[in-house]
Symmetry: C2
Subunit: 215 residues, 2 copies
């Protein structure tokens, strides 16, 4: 990693901490500088404005997310969807910090209609994430692990469900039905809906089809 | 309707228009008064503060929503879920006005963690709406129209998916995959997932099960 790269990485980490602490509406470059070990002028050297920095941060988040889903994890398509849902809905680290960060993220998303650069980057993130979901589904269908579904349509649904559950966790706080929503995603969206016909429970198939060997 | 009731209804209508025009962050009682045909002092007479008014507005939205889903519409549980998804994701009226209103709604939701009264009312709305979804599912399972799913778990998933699709429409603007997400909800969440076993397509059942009469 070059010096510039490591500086940028440190700025991204500081941005993450500042966002979780202050929320998006109250975020200033000074608040980010307060979380940053080097000089504030280095932030200004790398990023022209708060908007520029936020766009870079969203792009950074996307890279991290894709790495988490794709890198070194399980190959199994069902496990990869599960992993993605877990990262988005439940988070990987400390619960309180995760909620603070998700709160800031929701605040940023709610501002997207008023900030075109932010919206453009969110559109880019959405396209890529849906593309990854669709690829996982396509692979599962081709290998016969999943039944035939339309990968793009399923991806739009899956992404709506995981983001909706994340947002509800923020909006409703401790009363949010997050565990139930996550269990629903696991059981129905990843489990039952994608189940190849040979895996379907007998109760949902013909009474004499339990040993037919599938489609 | 008493005079008070009709005044309250007119204030709710004015609040709807003001929210769609100004968004939640910039909403003032004056902006609502500007949309209201009677005196501003009547708003203050009925509601002590903006917070008080917003809580009443959320409760009003809930009533309207339940009326739209439950009142005079189809009895069929599949149709009722379809109707609910349509109202939330696509909206019933003018597209531009719907998006403006959804944008304001998302802004309000994103503020919930910072405004306990608002959050309490959103929690109440969420409980009631999930209750309605669960009741529809329970009814469909009992009548044999749906396969066996856990009504509460399915409700948490369904609500996450429809709200996630609505939020994405706001966040991503014209690039949002709203039609695809809605089609996914229709096809997979309402269609395939709830399909009673006798309705499942032959491709997902045993090859010799097409005429077995179902479970």
């Amino acid at each position: 990693m070059s010096g510039d790269d490591s500086t940028r990485a440190a700025i991204m980490d500081a941005t993450f901490r500042a966002l979780a602490k202050h929320g998006y509406a109250d975020l200033t470059v000074q608040a980010i500088a307060d979380e940053f070990e080097k000089s504030k002028s280095l932030i200004h050297y790398h990023y022209d404005s708060k908007a520029d920095l936020m766009v870079a941060f969203l792009s950074h988040l996307l890279d991290e997310f894709i790495d988490e889903v794709e890198g070194g994890g399980p190959d199994d398509p069902r496990e990869r969807l599960h992993r993605m849902a877990e990262i988005v809905v439940v988070g990987l680290g400390d619960d309180a910090a995760t909620r603070d960060f998700h709160t800031a993220l929701l605040g940023m998303r709610a501002q997207a209609p008023f900030e075109p650069d932010l919206q453009d980057q969110l559109v880019e993130n959405d396209r890529l994430i849906r593309g990854v979901i669709a690829d996982i589904v396509r692979e599962g269908v081709e290998s016969g692990e999943f039944r035939e579904v339309d990968p793009e349509r399923y991806a739009a649904l899956f992404r709506s469900a995981i983001e909706g559950a994340q947002s509800h966790d923020v909006i409703l706080g401790d009363a949010a039905p997050t565990d139930e929503a996550f269990a629903g995603i696991e059981r129905y969206l990843i489990g039952d809906l994608l189940m190849a016909s040979e895996d379907r429970p007998a109760s949902s198939r013909s009474s004499d089809g339990a040993d037919d060997g599938g489609a």
